[in-house]
């Protein structure tokens, strides 16, 4: 369960997230949508203890994220938007590192690594160094690693960016299974509206750090008076193309790191 109460995050003068409140139920599949620079990643970073909110409170599985980050960390998993692999290790070593860091027993992680590397079709490259991987392969490995320990809440920040429809299909099926079989709460962001329509039970749309609307897809279509989710999204957030100019330094780092991957 995720409970966000009046959370604000400021970077200097700039308000990235502006007094948002949100409740995601246990076992729910929740899509968190918004244009580039809307505040999605900042919100996820606050939820995952990487950033501290300027104001407000967050509870994750009844742990106060700000006050008890360590207990919080035990109960979630995350696939980051930016690369976070060790290029000097092999695919298998990256998986193993994660498994041991999360205290998964050897019997479980050995099987799970095989299963997941097969899922993302990297099993035959398990002993290759990550630095030799293409962008898509790194992305797949990143997702496989995020799914390795089965947490109570799984955050996915634009997980399928740059992947072909086949791979996206495999991955969403796996995530859907995880949700159904182990009741894992899924909180994800994406720019692919068909992924949202396929899997999300509820949706929130955020822009300029403020949540514009929360509800099921039907409710949002009705309120926005739009035929499709994409139309509703554009209607609510406007058709201007966004610059992520708010935090130039960080944004530049993000671009750089994307170039490097």
């Amino acid at each position: 369960m995720i409970e966000i109460k009046n959370v604000t995050k400021k970077f200097g003068q700039f308000t990235a997230v502006d007094n948002i409140s949100l409740l995601v139920n246990s076992g729910e599949v929740f899509a968190f949508l918004g244009p580039n620079g809307a505040g999605k990643t900042t919100t996820i970073k606050m939820l995952t203890t990487l950033l501290k909110p300027s104001h407000g409170e967050i509870f994750l599985n009844n742990h106060n994220v700000k006050e008890d980050p360590h207990a919080t960390r035990k109960s979630f998993g995350i696939v980051f938007q930016d690369p976070s692999l060790d290029n000097e290790l092999t695919a298998y070593e990256n998986m193993q590192f994660h498994a041991i860091l999360y205290g998964i027993s050897k019997e479980i992680y050995q099987n799970r690594i095989v299963e997941l590397l097969r899922l993302v079709e990297l099993w035959d490259r398990k002993d290759s160094f990550v630095k030799t991987f293409s962008g898509g392969m790194k992305r797949r490995l990143e997702i496989a690693r995020g799914l390795l320990h089965h947490p109570k809440v799984l955050f996915l920040d634009e997980p399928t960016i740059g992947l072909d429809p086949q791979t996206r299909n495999h991955i969403w099926n796996y995530i859907n299974d995880l949700n159904k079989k182990e009741n894992v709460t899924i909180f994800f962001t994406t720019h692919h509206m068909e992924e949202v329509e396929r899997i999300a039970q509820r949706v929130a749309i955020i822009d300029h750090g403020k949540i514009l609307i929360v509800g099921t897809i039907e409710e949002i279509l009705k309120k926005a008076e739009a035929p499709t989710l994409e139309d509703a999204f554009i209607k609510l957030t406007g058709s201007n193309i966004r610059e992520e100019g708010a935090n130039v330094g960080l944004n530049q780092m993000r671009i750089n790191s994307k170039l490097m991957r």
Partner: protein, 248 residues
Amino acid sequence: MTAIYILWLRQLKRFIRKKASIVGAIGQPIIFLLAIGFGFSPVFAKAGGGDYIQFLAPGIIVMTVLFTSIFTGLEIIWDKQFGFLKETFVAPVPRYQILLGKVLGGATVAMIQGVLVFIITLVAGFRPANIYALPLAFLFLFLVAIVSSALGAAISARLEDMQGFPLIFNFMVQPLFFLSGAIFPLKDLPVVLNVITKVNPFSYGVDGLRFAFSGVNVFNPVLSIAVLAGVFLVILGFGVYQFSKVQL
């Protein structure tokens, strides 16, 4: 505890795979041995200091350990830029364990380099007086290694990129080495230098290592161990605090 182990193992794997940097890190000590060691040797002997290589070798070994482990500490900045630090920081592992894994990994890598340079000094003519004191020498090397890698890690926790690196290297790491009694004896020094060298924890590392190898010392070895261990704990505490403040 397995988290500390896997962090340590990662450092070691990364080190062993970078053959070029292993060789590269030996270059500087060799130059020091050749240029300063053999270059100053006649002057040192005339001044009544004895064989300069015997005096300098422990200093060069400490230099290797100090430079290498500070640098492995600073690798945290790379992890930050490549995003890997996020992976470590959202894991259910207490910050102090992440720091300890890093520090022990960096220290191990530095010790390996230190031993390589020790072998090179043997080739250059260095002869430890007492082979049985090798474990004590290892203890001092280890203390120097953990102090410096903890220092590197604590500093890099709050740095965003490598641009601050020359600043750290020239205004902290180099002075720590040059003002530690590694290349000159700590006696009859000008007042200012005398104070600085006594405050510098690495003076105690160099002196302890010299004591282990050749029985010559300025400070009581027990005091040296206590100083290094104490400084390590202080830096470790500071590092844990720094780590808890990191926002990614």
